[in-house]
Point group: C2
Chain length 383, copies 2
């Protein structure tokens, strides 16, 4: 660590991706904890649950049945937050009135999918081998490709996808959506209502706040740094320094970012410029599967628990100018809430909501702990 003193003093760190600051108070974990404890995660789930709406062959909420799928399975979310069709909303004409300035709304349409990662009810990404994570990455790539604007400069590199038989819902969308957010909520502590391994995909007509903010920073950096890419520069810098690196292979770096907010936050970042999933070759996809396996397994090993997190992919919008597409750079954020143990989490509450995100351990301390818990999954050793 260049500035060992930052291990001991309160300081702020700047997040160049969002253009915002976070407060770091490394001495704070010493305080006693009498607050909420998370429930220990159930470890006795069956490999098939007849009441799970994600298991192969089962009935779903809206009445459809899942096929007896054997790998991943994609369907349109029965409780989609955004829909392809809805009543028209006409924005009131801008008459300069107060209501017009202060009560602004715009309609959003879109499409929401659920993707199961495996037919087996009681597995998680941490249990899977890289070769078993590869079908998940392929399915993400397939969905992204199906929704890509034919006018995007990425359309040239995207491989035509054959829609797998399980993917009958994965038809071309009714409209050209602007952004696709691929994400996973894992664990009850992260609002996940079903333990069957699955993620989600929401496409929307607008670019949501976070990707829009990042895209602005990435474009600005590129302009100011003679065309070079912020996250490629950052990956090189971290790979050299090593103190925040959790894992690296030829194509990807897993790092606790300098500006991490969550205690054990990790970013997986492509080491060379990749705009989106469609820019990957076979080796890239294998390396990404390995990086995801390494991060999720280390998470579970850290507190010997099913480590909760939200994770999400950031990449090029489905539709955009060549400048926007070319400034985009593929990365995955992992935001896990646990801080001290399997049952004590970090709350981003009062000060964090009203004033500024605040963390209690340094990213360097977090990375050192995650580096040290590689190897076999703790659950396998117990058997």
């Amino acid at each position: 660590m260049p500035d060992a003193i930052l291990d001991d003093i309160s300081h702020r760190r700047f997040n160049p991706l969002r253009g915002s600051w976070i407060l770091v108070s490394p001495h704070r974990t010493k305080r006693p904890w009498q607050g909420q404890q998370e429930g220990a995660s159930k470890t006795t789930l069956p490999d098939y649950d007849p009441s799970c709406y994600l298991c192969p062959g089962n009935k779903r909420a809206a009445g459809d049945s899942n096929p007896k799928y054997e790998s991943t399975y994609v369907f349109v979310n029965d409780y989609s937050a955004v829909k392809e069709e809805q009543a028209e909303y006409e924005q009131p004409a801008n008459d300069g009135s107060l209501a017009n300035t202060l009560l602004r709304a715009e309609p959003v349409t879109g499409k929401c999918y659920v993707i199961t990662f495996s037919p087996t009810h009681n597995l998680t990404l941490a249990d899977l081998q890289p070769s078993e994570i590869l079908p998940v990455i392929n399915t993400w790539t397939q969905i992204y490709t199906t929704h890509l604007s034919p006018k995007s400069i990425l359309a040239e590199v995207a491989q035509p996808t054959t829609i797998a038989p399980h993917g009958q819902d994965l038809a071309a969308p009714n409209a050209q959506y602007r952004y696709m957010q691929i994400f996973e909520n894992k664990g009850a502590a992260m609002g996940c209502s079903n333990p069957h391994p699955h993620g989600q995909v929401w496409c929307t007509t607008g670019t949501p706040e976070e990707p829009a903010l990042e895209l602005e920073s990435l474009q600005k950096y590129r302009k100011e740094h003679g065309g070079s890419h912020m996250l490629v520069d950052y990956a090189n810098l971290e790979s050299e320094k090593k103190e925040r690196v959790v894992f690296e292979n030829e194509s990807f770096l897993a790092v606790c970012p300098w500006w991490a907010t969550w205690p054990f936050e990790v970013m997986i970042v492509a080491r060379t410029h990749k705009r989106a999933l469609v820019d990957f070759n076979d080796k890239d996809r294998q390396d990404l599967a390995e990086a995801i396996a390494e991060v999720t397994r280390r998470y579970d090993n850290l507190f010997e628990t099913q480590f909760p997190y939200s994770m999400g992919l950031h990449q090029a919008p489905l539709e955009g100018t060549p400048e926007e597409i070319n400034a985009s750079h593929f990365h995955i954020h992992f935001y896990p809430p646990l801080l001290r143990s399997a049952t004590v989490r970090k709350f981003l509450v009062g000060y964090e909501m009203m004033a500024e995100p605040q963390r209690d351990i340094t990213p360097e301390q977090a990375a050192a702990r995650l580096r040290n818990c590689g190897g076999e999954l703790y659950r396998k050793k117990l058997n």
Copy 2:
């Protein structure tokens, strides 16, 4: 509601205070919930707990003892996130290197206080009469005044404060801090580790992200609207429309903002221009106490539970240019997590963290429910 259709369709609303958007999906609460349930809140607390470090006369973690205080009590947080004294950190000279651009840090000093709201262990703001909340507002005003820069234009209006005997820790700070964040975390679901009614105050050398963002929007609005204040205009507009108003008196309006993120988010806003606590007269303080009592009591009545929330005051910085101080406008945010019942909360997770905040009921629906649960506190009726 001007646009009844927004009750049924997915749309985004703009938050002019932060300059950001949120996604509203009103049909989403229909989905089944198999996820995490909050523990029911303990209702059997004693009025004095010998092991509580906030009760009068008790020993605290660092060894100090609390006096036998009878109203509010202020002390410096034994586990402060920021401190008045710490080792010096010299920021590396800007050499234009990548490390300099991508690994930026700055030291933060400051002071953190804890304020108990009452000597009685098992009361909350919802249990208190306005006349019993008044001492809390007076204590906030006193702390704010003690830390105000003598060069601020607010110094003229601030009343000299007599530091109450209980406030021996409330000495003038070592340095001039720039911002004071007053807040409360209530309930285990909001990371509160002690049920004794209390709030916190963190002062820092920099202006934290959220108040800085708001101040920018407020200054911009004022310039673009001939000197008028966004939140005064907004309070007038809402008071006329009524559909998002929860409660109003002569000086304050409690409203579920048009752009609310949390299901039952409320903002208490001064109806005429008030820059900070020191701008209030006796009537204002009484009206504010009543507004706080009304909001917290309705919250508890809504699901007949001790309703968790984080709340925080936004007002003028302790130090700032006359333009900054005069653009500031006093308001309080309440961010409560519950959505469906006393045990089912809203999770702002995957999509919300990676893409954009998303809510499941409209602010108009939330306000209607909060309007309808005024009256006596449900617990009193049970006795």
